[in-house]
Symmetry: C3
Subunit: 166 residues, 3 copies
């Protein structure tokens, strides 16, 4: 492939995490942690339901307004309680999947989040969705590196070798 | 970064909009409008359920055949009536989300579609899906720039800096 | 666009197929077959529910453990039996969609899989998910080119012109 200059620059991976489902989150974290551990600059940009992954489990929602309060009440709080995109079966699916992962020593979302931090993955929370859904910075975990909008995302993405929307 | 020639060319963003859900459509339009307003060449390629976003609200379906007629009857007609991917709750979710967006002055899909046009985003409708689902050109809004298949998509995508499947 | 060296290298397309739904599978195969027939190096990396597409229809599951057995029993076996992401209607949707595709000579997932093989698309199955879900190599079709993890994926993806997560 011998791309000289191109080859020498560290590769860059940028993921949009739109979904708040356990299976999709695990897929995203697997790619991110894999990339970071291979020395790539890796950024995860959490938006919409993906923000649920970054929620502090015991934070009280300060959402104001009826609709935001309902949205907050109906959304899973933190990486422990994410649904599955398939076979969710009113919450039995995720419990089974978590057991299966534990048994086979496959890290779950909580462990992946901490692995991502350790391996240098940058975690960015989308300010537009936070504003819309009434999610304050205090409702999110400390590990969030920055809060940014679409311009910041595009700044990263246009210089990335791999861009995915999960 | 200083990539000389590479840097001087305008950046290019190409999105496949496969989903016909309000939240995913909003995410796609946010990226597209953001990119276009930053001077990037931006193309949205609508396929499958994503074509529902481009439907003329008051167009009569000319779909022939029982299955196509059913598909047409069961699909939302235009950007006003898209479901949510989560918390749809038989249509209450989208109504609440639209209220929330209005209250916080976040543009909805209808406004985003018009913003996309104004900022120069190219809208392409996938001819294979149109043919399959019996969607005629007349059923889609005038703002569609062109009708094309996978070869045209790949022509764009292989020269894009950011490719996403939404 | 006169990119000299860059232009002369064959373009490369790499798709992650995460979803096991008929409509998303068809979209992925359309892109892959299109790309391969235009002379691009095309790789499909099947993970999570996407592995259902590669299952041998008549293979007996050798999954061990209660949860894996349940997962296996509840997952569609092979490309004949995939659900739709929308309008699935307890399985009526996919039947209708298949009829519609047949009528309009649009190839279904089974035909697309064989087209993909003929046009040189590489099919890779994700070993991490196989291990987790207890899917053995014998449960998958012979057409799988290789079994690999995230490092192999990233090796491909960082040299691809088009990366998508479907």
């Amino acid at each position: 492939m011998g791309e000289s200059n191109e080859e020498r620059k560290p590769k860059k991976v940028t993921l949009i995490v739109f979904s708040g489902e356990m299976d999709r989150a695990i897929a995203a974290f697997n790619i991110a942690v894999g990339a970071a551990s291979m020395g790539m600059e890796t950024t995860m940009f959490f938006t919409f339901w993906g923000l649920n992954i970054l929620k502090r489990p015991n934070a009280r929602s300060k959402a104001s307004g009826f609709i935001r309060k309902m949205l907050s009440a109906m959304s899973p709080r933190g990486p422990h309680r994410l649904p599955l995109s398939k076979l969710n079966m009113l919450g039995i699916g995720p419990v089974m999947m978590k057991k299966l992962m534990k048994k086979h020593s496959v890290p779950g979302v909580v462990e992946m989040l901490s692995l991502a931090r350790q391996s240098g993955v940058r975690l960015i929370a989308c300010t537009v969705t936070m504003e819309l859904m009434g999610i304050s910075k205090e409702a999110l975990i400390d590990e969030v590196d920055s809060y940014a909008g679409v311009a910041a995302y595009l700044g990263e993405a246009t210089h990335s070798n791999v861009n995915l929307f999960v």
